[in-house]
């Protein structure tokens, strides 16, 4: 059963310029959370008609908290970044299919690829995969060193490959160029989340391999629950035949058309 809940802002901090981590506390269907799931967050201002889709970056059933990490890109996220602990936010979720994790106790090598605001769901995924025994490698990219966040989390759960556009930290270039220098055949699965270009790169790079490809998509959403047909995407089976909010946001990289 899906519910909307008023969760209290427990903490909010700026991780990097314009990137915030907000922790929400309260009742939530924690049991249903899987890495890659998202919530629809309502801003506390009546002029905003649409909830904002944000991936769950961490979920803690014991402490009754979820964490979201977001970039300020427009009016809604700007308002969100100004909110202070104690305020209540209406949260609808968890939504979406989440990433397919595969069997427990696997020792397979898996690759996580992320950029921009694609990192938050990968954080939770990295931890889940690590706990299941997978050998996790994460490749992420930022514009410059000062914009980087999440390194500790990813290093904690496996190996981290870091790229910055200006070379101020790690590999100089984007994640695609970083991966171009690597053999990727060893990975049993690749999980990617980020801008369209990054997903296309992953789709292309792994097309000829045996690797399972999981891509988490973004789309402008109205309902978030499969009611409005606002967020559709095409797959090999048909035009606009899947809803990112309901059948996604994670799609089989060999099926989905980007």
């Amino acid at each position: 059963m899906l519910t909307k809940n008023n969760l209290e802002i427990a903490a909010q901090e700026e991780l990097a310029p314009g990137i915030y981590r907000i922790v929400l506390h309260g009742e939530f269907d924690y049991a249903a959370v899987r890495p890659g799931c998202f919530v629809m967050l309502q801003l506390p201002d009546e002029a905003y008609q649409l909830r904002r889709p944000l991936a769950i970056a961490a979920s803690n059933e014991t402490q009754k908290t979820i964490a979201l990490i977001y970039r300020v890109v427009g009016d809604g996220t700007r308002l969100l970044s100004k909110l202070t602990p104690g305020m209540l936010l209406s949260i609808l979720g968890p939504l979406g299919n989440g990433f397919s994790l595969g069997a427990d106790n696997s020792a397979e090598e898996v690759l996580l690829v992320g950029g921009g605001t694609g990192l938050p769901p990968l954080m939770m995924l990295a931890q889940a995969l690590n706990e299941k025994g997978y050998a996790v490698t994460t490749a992420i990219g930022f514009r410059t060193a000062s914009m980087a966040f999440g390194e500790k989390e990813f290093e904690h759960n496996g190996k981290l490959l870091l790229a910055t556009d200006d070379g101020s930290k790690g590999f100089k270039g984007n994640v695609g160029e970083l991966l171009a220098k690597q053999s990727v055949k060893k990975y049993a699965k690749v999980y990617a989340c980020g801008p369209a270009g990054l997903l296309q790169m992953v789709q292309k790079r792994f097309a000829e391999t045996e690797t399972e490809i999981y891509l988490s998509l973004e789309s402008r959403m109205a309902c978030g629950v499969g009611a409005c047909e606002g967020c559709v995407v095409s797959t090999k089976d048909g035009i606009f035949n899947k809803r990112v909010c309901l059948e996604g946001p994670v799609f089989d990289g060999r099926e989905v058309i980007l």
Binding site: T3, L50, L92, R220, V225, G226, A227, F240
Partner: protein
């Protein structure tokens, strides 16, 4: 089935235990996760997503943009086609909620197409009424073009009425100079009721790409920002045309519902409000009796009578 209680209303083909229904396009065919959040049996009825003769893929994405107190959509009547709806969607809905009246929104690119969809839909035994969509701003063929010319609107209404086995509500477009003229035309064409309003044609432009946010460029504007326009149109039309009106356009609360009744409505549909409040319909249904108490209104039936007779004195 008998209907009683102060929220009960009766419209052609629709005996409703309360006047609240999800608006077309904002609740699919009841087959979405909003349905996990409350029992759809609580609803007065449901208006399902537009049905066309063949499957429609709809418009490219982005299909959704936000505006101040509003939403732009350019879904473009995506639907699996009337046959699939009748075969896969409605039986499931009917089975899960046997007593939930269903209003089927229908659309087409030609008169012949509208007629065929109406025929199939109304003969199915699974819908209580049709909502004739002559007002969709998001498709190039058909849609709104049928709703902006009185002669075309009347002819289409007549054609659909001829074949329909259930009452027909014509859904009007607000994108017209004179909505009363269109309402009178479809009334003359035999409409059993009106549904108003559909969305207003709007646009947002992305400052960085310099292009409209919606792939379709323009989209339909809905939400509380358009409510004053809906109220005005319903007020004007209910004074000019003696047909029951299903009101929609920015309704979010029980207050908004009463405002629509005072304008001349007989029932209401809720669209955009779902997007920020998924339980908007049951919340409104729950709040209505308290609101009626507060305003000294005995029942919605009485309110309709009072408003309609006050209108007559007004004129």
């Amino acid at each position: 089935m008998t209907i009683a209680g102060r929220l009960a209303v009766e419209l052609p083909g629709l005996k409703l235990k309360n006047p609240v229904m999800p608006a077309s396009g904002c609740f699919g065919f009841g087959d979405n996760r909003y349905a996990e959040m409350f029992d759809l049996n609580e609803l007065g009825a449901i208006i399902i997503k537009a049905a066309t003769l063949k499957q429609r893929d709809g418009n490219p994405v982005p299909r959704i943009a936000e505006t101040k107190s509003g939403v732009l959509n350019a879904v473009g009547l995506q639907n699996p086609g009337v046959d699939v709806i009748l075969h896969d969607k409605l039986p499931v809905l009917h089975k899960k909620y046997p007593e939930l009246p269903v209003v089927a929104n229908i659309a087409g690119a030609t008169e012949a197409e509208y007629v065929k969809v109406a025929q199939k839909m109304s003969a199915s035994g699974m819908v209580s009424a049709l909502e004739l969509n002559i007002s969709c701003p998001n498709v190039h063929e058909g849609g709104m073009l049928f709703g902006t010319d009185p002669t075309t609107a009347r002819r289409l209404t007549e054609a659909v009425k001829e074949v329909s086995q259930v009452p027909v509500y014509v859904k009007l477009s607000p994108n017209v100079t004179d909505i009363v003229e269109i309402a009178q035309a479809v009334a003359a064409g035999g409409a059993d009721g009106l549904s108003m309003i559909n969305t207003l044609l709007g646009m947002r432009i992305d400052l960085k790409t310099r292009k409209p946010i919606l792939a379709n460029k323009t989209g339909g504007l809905s939400g509380p920002g358009i409510k004053p326009i809906a109220v005005r149109m319903i007020y004007q039309v209910s004074r000019a045309v003696d047909l029951p009106i299903i009101a929609m356009g920015g309704i979010e609360t029980a207050d908004d519902v009463i405002e629509m009744y005072l304008a001349g409505a007989s029932a209401v549909a809720i669209g955009t409000a779902h997007f920020h409040n998924p339980t908007a319909c049951p919340d409104i249904i729950e709040a209505l009796p308290r609101k009626l108490d507060e305003l000294g209104i005995s029942s919605l039936r009485d309110l309709i009578t009072e408003v309609r007779s006050a209108q007559t004195n007004d004129n």
